[in-house]
């Protein structure tokens, strides 16, 4: 019983720690994740893979430059890749709509995902978008339907999917490509249900509270790992991915390859059931007993999540690039570990 006691003592102190220091540390991650010099999907794939053949168009409306995809070869493994694409320069960024896809982008992605299923090639997706484009053109072509359809397709796609959050994981527009058997995240990436600015303008009624919202939403990679949304955080070289894109790709490649290998032999039904179960159990709730007293559905798990989150927090404030202890190697599957 010693352990729960310590938790009780720690708990009041830890969640309240929305200090200036923490806010600055979290906001720095947000800015790193959004840095335009950060390697984006095409740059990463070109460095990770030995061969890349990009494919275009959704066969329904047009080719959306904000989503890219095609065939690639990663250390000899053939795969289909799909990802959001931001630009490194202003001109390219405008052409690519700052990585904010229209519905046709997701329909192109779905076309490539179905192709991967048919050819029995594994899929690697790269996530880096502020969100799907919210304008009238996007709405009238059914961006919500495209996202929902893409999520649904990925939950039942009969081929392995490895997802990498490389930069900004912005809400449904990110999630539409991020349903995977394994979800990796680069250390300085973020993942959130809504942009910090959006959350601030709704919950605080002013976008000026974006930093507070960023802290409250627990959007950093290490905190997402604690929540179980991300399975593994891949450390970036010091200075961040934008300073050392080559080194970042070099660190990502073996992790992607290892997970592709681990998933490759898996029976398709086992694979799909595990994918269903992965998402089926996300999030916690309580069940009210007949006396009216709610009882947690899985006792103790919220405490455990809080403790993990706090260790993620501590590492953030602890400064440059430090990950919570055990994060990188916490994988329970030994075969995935050997090659970093």
């Amino acid at each position: 019983m010693a352990e729960p006691t310590t938790v009780d003592v720690q708990q009041p102190a830890a969640p309240a720690a929305d200090t200036d220091e923490l806010r600055a540390a979290v906001w720095q991650r947000v800015q790193q994740a959004r840095n335009v010099k950060r390697p984006h999907t095409l740059e990463l794939v070109q460095m990770i893979a030995t061969e890349v053949i990009e494919l275009h168009g959704d066969r329904l409306f047009r080719d959306d430059p904000a989503i890219v995809g095609g065939f690639c070869r990663i250390d000899g493994r053939r795969a289909v890749f799909v990802g959001h694409q931001k630009g490194a320069e202003t001109d390219e960024n405008i052409r690519r709509n700052f990585g904010m896809p229209h519905p046709e982008g997701y329909r192109k992605a779905m076309r490539l995902l179905r192709l991967a299923e048919r050819l029995q090639l594994p899929v690697v997706t790269f996530i880096d978008t502020p969100g799907a484009f919210p304008g009238p053109a996007s709405e009238e072509r059914g961006v919500a339907e495209a996202i929902a359809r893409s999520i649904q397709l990925m939950t039942g796609l009969r081929t392995p999917i490895v997802t990498v959050i490389t930069g900004e994981g912005g809400s449904g527009g990110a999630l539409a490509l991020a349903v995977g058997d394994v979800v990796l995240a680069l250390e300085n990436s973020i993942y959130s249900v809504i942009s910090p600015e959006g959350a601030a303008s709704i919950l605080w009624r002013s976008p000026e509270y974006a930093q507070q919202a960023a802290v409250a939403m627990r959007l950093t990679a290490s905190e997402q790992l604690a929540l179980g949304v991300v399975d593994e955080v891949v450390p970036e070289p010091s200075g961040g991915a934008h300073e050392h894109p080559e080194e970042t790709a070099k660190r990502l490649r073996p992790r992607i390859a290892a997970h592709l290998d681990a998933l490759a032999g898996r029976d398709r039904k086992v694979l799909l059931d595990a994918r269903y179960a992965r998402y089926r159990h996300m999030g916690e709730f309580a069940v009210a007993t007949p006396t009216g007293e709610p009882r947690p559905e899985r006792p103790g798990i919220v405490d455990r999540i809080r403790r993990l989150l706090d260790s993620g927090r501590a590492a953030l404030v602890g400064g440059d690039g430090a990950l919570p202890p055990g994060v990188v190697d916490s994988d329970s599957e030994p075969p995935l570990r050997e090659d970093v």
Partner: protein, 307 residues
């Protein structure tokens, strides 16, 4: 020197607990009359939002609803504090609405046909989808799959619940996966979109009905006005994100006034019954019989939704 007139307070004529102003035509409506007319403005036909109990009694045969999992409650996983801590917001919503979270699911009959129904209540934290709402939609879909009963989901939601962070976002996957299995198994799903259905709810199960129905003039869209305004500079056109706009662009099969909803569902349910089971392996997304891989199949799915 101002003189206080004895009959100055004309506003007192419409005490808010008795009268409601129609936001469309500004008509003052007597609340009892509003309730009697299914909360539709008798002058202009504006549909006021319905609480979940009123919604269920509107759609289902009298006294047939059997609620399931009424005890599910949200927990504060993130220690989320905005202007108020999340547990306080939850408690406030529970007290003001009398329900435990923003969705209710169970079974009932419509014209004698047994259905599984899940309905959301906008009055509870904007109908936002956290883990509990995601769980209820998923359990409803899984029950419909097990019993091979048609599923009807009534959406009314601002989207994913921010206070549960990405765990709310993951509810999109959870619900879409369950709906996907339902679809693969040939069990029909009707999505009824009511005012408002936006964000993560529209971008998941609400958009995926085999038939999508919307109430007139409901706000239905992906990005809320505040989020859109922060991202794009262009002026948003009038009437975009309304039920009729979605109908025009092919994402909703029918726009049906509240008074005709039950009748419409009755008509649809005569056609939308679970396909007979060819073999016992079916009903699972992984069954080769129920789900052949390939591009064509996806096209067929899409066509059936757009009707």
């Amino acid at each position: 020197m101002p003189i206080k007139l004895p009959f100055g307070g004309r506003r007192q004529e419409y005490p808010t607990d008795l009268w409601t102003r129609c936001p469309d035509c500004t008509e003052m409506i007597y609340n009892k009359q509003l309730d009697k007319s299914l909360r539709i403005c008798p002058r202009c036909g504006h549909h006021f939002r319905l609480r979940v109990d009123a919604r269920l009694s509107l759609l289902l045969d009298r006294d047939t609803f059997r609620e399931q999992d009424a005890g599910l409650e949200s927990v504060d996983m993130l220690g989320f504090v905005d202007q108020k801590p999340y547990p306080e917001r939850l408690e406030g919503a529970r007290v003001s609405t009398g329900i435990r979270d923003a969705a209710v699911w169970g079974t009932g009959t419509i014209g004698g046909t047994k259905v599984v129904v899940c309905a959301m209540d906008f009055a509870f934290m904007g109908g936002s989808m956290g883990t509990v709402v995601g769980e209820k939609v998923t359990r409803a879909a899984e029950h419909a799959l097990d019993e091979r009963l048609p599923l009807i989901v009534v959406s009314a939601s601002g989207g994913a619940r921010m206070q549960e962070g990405t765990l709310s976002l993951m509810q999109l996957v959870k619900t879409c996966a369950a709906i996907g299995r339902l679809s693969d198994a040939g069990v029909p799903y009707i999505s009824l979109l009511t005012d408002p259905t936006t964000g993560g709810v529209f971008a998941s199960f609400a958009a995926l009905g085999d038939v999508n129905i919307a109430e007139p003039k409901s706000l239905i869209g992906f990005a809320g006005a505040r989020v859109a305004a922060g991202t794009i500079s262009e002026e948003l056109p009038e009437g975009f994100q309304r039920a009729e706009f979605l109908f025009e662009h092919g994402f909703v099969d029918l726009v049906v006034a509240r008074g005709k909803l039950r009748e419409t569902l009755l008509g649809l349910l005569r056609y939308m019954r679970a396909a007979p089971l060819a073999d016992k392996v079916g009903g699972n997304g992984a069954s080769p019989l129920s789900r052949a891989p390939g591009f064509l199949e996806g096209m067929v799915n899409r066509e059936s939704v757009r009707g």
